[in-house]
């Protein structure tokens, strides 16, 4: 089998293409999704030409087109809605949180809403306070939604396929920071479970839990730490529900827990996981939560330099938990500020 190295965005595009081809009830709506370059991020490029009436550009009316997609979904279609930034999806919170998430429950079942929302979140240089929010808690804390964070190109493809085939509203929070990350992605269609965390690396000393952009930093930290500590690295994958069972099982083995958040700590995924684990077992260390400061993300690189936890921060947090000396590594401008284009194994 030859390797098929795809960019994250190409993996999303390939899954979308295959879903459109296999199921005529699938359609795509979002601002600019019919553009040649595919909503400016490449995730739908060329698809409008292949499926002209099913990849639809829409007016800049987030509330209306998201609500329309919810209505189409409970009428039997399988829309994929694209919001290029989470801030714009906030204009559509009524159809997402109040309508789609409640629809089946409030009618006593029998009213499925098979909608998938792809929402881009998080860091990107130069984007500042109103273009870089993540707001994981908003989606993670709303019953009735399934919420996943694909952290690799393979997961981006497999989770999108599962999301579209699921009979419920699924929110896919895509870290824009990862759009250039590459990986070997199988050509066929397959489904990744929507509710399971994934153990990416086995280790006996400390459980590191991360997601999205933080997961890629944690993978780099794993290499930096090397044999100094046995890291068990877990990709959260699902934040509604959080797969506390897989995480707790790992912590039961390692006795130590480190969570990497790329958002402020309050109501974060990390705090949620630490609380869940602390309820069921004693720990050898004080659980560590790496996170951003509780301020909006600014624009100047002089200020964002210390905003997100880096691979060095993660590596040193691991080493401190193991009572080992810090590593010295000065991050380059590129490492600090430019989105990674690495190829993952």
């Amino acid at each position: 089998m030859s390797e098929r190295i795809l960019k994250y965005t190409d993996a999303v595009r390939e899954a979308t293409d295959q879903l459109l081809e296999k199921d005529s009830s699938v359609f795509v709506v979002g601002l600019g999704v019919s553009y040649k370059d595919g909503a400016a991020d490449g995730t739908t490029s060329g698809l409008a030409m292949k499926y002209p009436k099913r990849v639809l550009d829409v007016p800049v009316s987030e509330n209306a087109f998201t609500g329309m997609a919810v209505g189409a979904a409970f009428s039997g279609l399988r829309p994929i809605v694209h919001h290029g930034r989470v801030e714009f999806s906030l204009l559509a919170m009524d159809p997402i949180l109040t309508q789609a998430a409640k629809w089946n429950y409030m009618f006593g079942g029998g009213n499925p809403v098979p909608i998938t929302l792809r929402i881009a979140v998080g860091r990107q240089w130069g984007n500042g306070p109103q273009h870089t929010q993540s707001l994981y808690g908003l989606f993670g804390g709303t019953p009735g939604l399934k919420v996943v964070i694909p952290s690799t190109p393979r997961m981006a493809k497999g989770l999108l396929i599962s999301a579209v085939r699921d009979n419920n509203p699924v929110i896919i929070l895509e870290s824009r920071w990862l759009y250039k990350v590459k990986q070997d992605v199988p050509a066929e269609m397959w489904e990744e479970p929507l509710d399971k965390a994934k153990v990416l690396k086995k280790g006996a000393d400390i459980t590191v839990v991360a997601y999205g952009d933080g997961l890629v930093s944690a993978l780099e930290a794993y290499d930096l730490v090397g044999k100094s500590a046995g890291i068990e690295l877990i990709d959260v994958v699902s934040i509604n529900p959080v797969d506390n069972e897989t995480i707790a099982k790992s912590v039961a083995k390692t006795g130590r827990l480190l969570c990497v958040d790329t958002a402020p700590a309050a109501f974060s995924i990390g705090s949620e996981i630490i609380a869940a684990v602390a309820k069921v077992m004693p720990l050898k260390n004080k659980p560590v939560a790496l996170c951003t400061p509780a301020v909006p993300c600014p624009t100047s690189t002089a200020l964002t330099e210390s905003y997100y936890p880096t691979k060095v921060d993660i590596a040193n947090a691991v080493l401190r938990a193991m009572k080992k000396p810090d590593i010295k590594h000065v991050l380059t401008f590129e490492e600090l500020h430019l989105a990674p284009s690495i190829t993952l194994s």
Binding site: P59, G67, A72, S75, G76, G109, P143
Partner: protein, 333 residues
């Protein structure tokens, strides 16, 4: 089924007495059922927040009589009338109000969440304007799958002030979707009159037509007027012309969400005027003039009263949902 003459452009012709009588039966049942529900509500027998439709019956029935079973309908917080007009089951509706297992939503929704796929009542949702983009999606599916059916969304004049309405009229127009937006203008949003909510010169017709959509205004206290104009609107929609707004001016006889209220908050639609212009009273007079006997009408009315009593008794006797169903239906399989 009522018939509208295609040849005659006058709007007030060709509704047979039989059709009017059937409409009267439906309107009377909605009225009497809600009056009985209101009495129970005042005695704290109904632990579901209720918004009464009394006074607006001609709108629901006039619109419902203009569409068929395959056409879809969605409503808002005030949708008992819409649901019953679409052919709904009063027993299951009252069960839902009482939180019973056999209710339309197994007790999980309550009064603000009417739903019944068997009559294509797709759902009702109380976040006012929300129903419009959702209904647009229902109409989107109808066009996507090349169906001949249309979708009707009911909302009030207050909801019509929410921005998503304007976004959706444009969107439905862009895709030429068979969406009929019925605005029931009862002159108040809770207790706020139109003059406190709208700029001088505000003009719904111009707004709607400015989006290239069709607008028709109807007397929502007059079944015949609603029926004829809704019929015109539905015919327009079926041709694939895109969305329309039917604005029906009506009176809500009760408070926003309770049976009784301070009459002093009503300026235009004072009690005397409401009773005088009441659609049911007017339709009854019309039927009498058309030769329907008092005896016939009284017999229909007593039958509807009996049926409402029977439905309510049925619902009170019905079982509550099992406590463990609290956890079911969050997700569909």
């Amino acid at each position: 089924m009522a018939i509208i003459s295609r040849k005659n452009k006058r709007q007030d012709v060709a509704l047979s007495t039989g059709a009017l009588l059937r409409a009267y039966e439906k309107m009377f049942l909605i009225r009497v059922a809600e009056e009985k529900i209101a009495a129970l509500y005042l005695k704290n027998k109904i632990m579901s927040f209720v918004h009464f439709y009394i006074g607006q019956e001609a709108v629901a029935v006039g619109v419902a009589d203009s569409i068929g079973l395959k056409d879809k309908m969605l409503g808002n917080h005030r949708s008992h009338g819409h649901y019953l007009a679409k052919g709904g089951d009063l027993k299951r509706m009252v069960c839902e109000l009482l939180g019973k297992e056999g209710g339309l939503a197994k007790g999980k929704g309550g009064s603000m969440h009417m739903v019944d796929r068997s009559v294509n009542f797709v759902g009702s949702t109380p976040i006012l304007g929300s129903v419009v983009p959702l209904s647009c999606g229902v109409a989107f599916e109808q066009k996507y799958n090349k169906r001949k059916s249309v979708t009707v969304a009911f909302l009030g004049d207050g909801a019509f002030e929410e921005g998503v309405i304007y976004e959706t009229i444009n969107l439905a127009g862009l895709f030429k979707l068979p969406l009929l937006i019925v605005v029931e203008n009862n002159l108040y949003s809770v207790n706020s009159p139109l003059k406190d909510r709208r700029a001088e010169g505000h003009n719904v017709a111009k707004i709607v037509r400015g989006f290239g959509a069709k607008y028709i205004k109807a007397d929502g206290k007059n079944y015949r007027d609603v029926r004829v104009k809704a019929g015109k609107m539905v015919a327009y929609l079926r041709k694939g012309n895109g969305p329309g707004v039917l604005e029906c001016f009506t009176h809500r006889h009760m408070a926003h969400s309770a049976p009784i209220f301070d009459e002093s908050s009503r300026k235009e639609d004072v009690l005397e005027k409401r009773l005088q212009q009441d659609s049911i009273k007017r339709l009854r007079s019309e039927l009498r003039r058309a030769g329907v006997s008092e005896k016939k009408l009284a017999s229909i009315e007593s039958e509807k009263i009996r049926y409402a009593d029977e439905s309510i008794a049925f619902a009170f006797a019905a079982p509550y949902p099992k406590p463990e169903t609290l956890y079911t239906n969050v997700f569909a399989r």
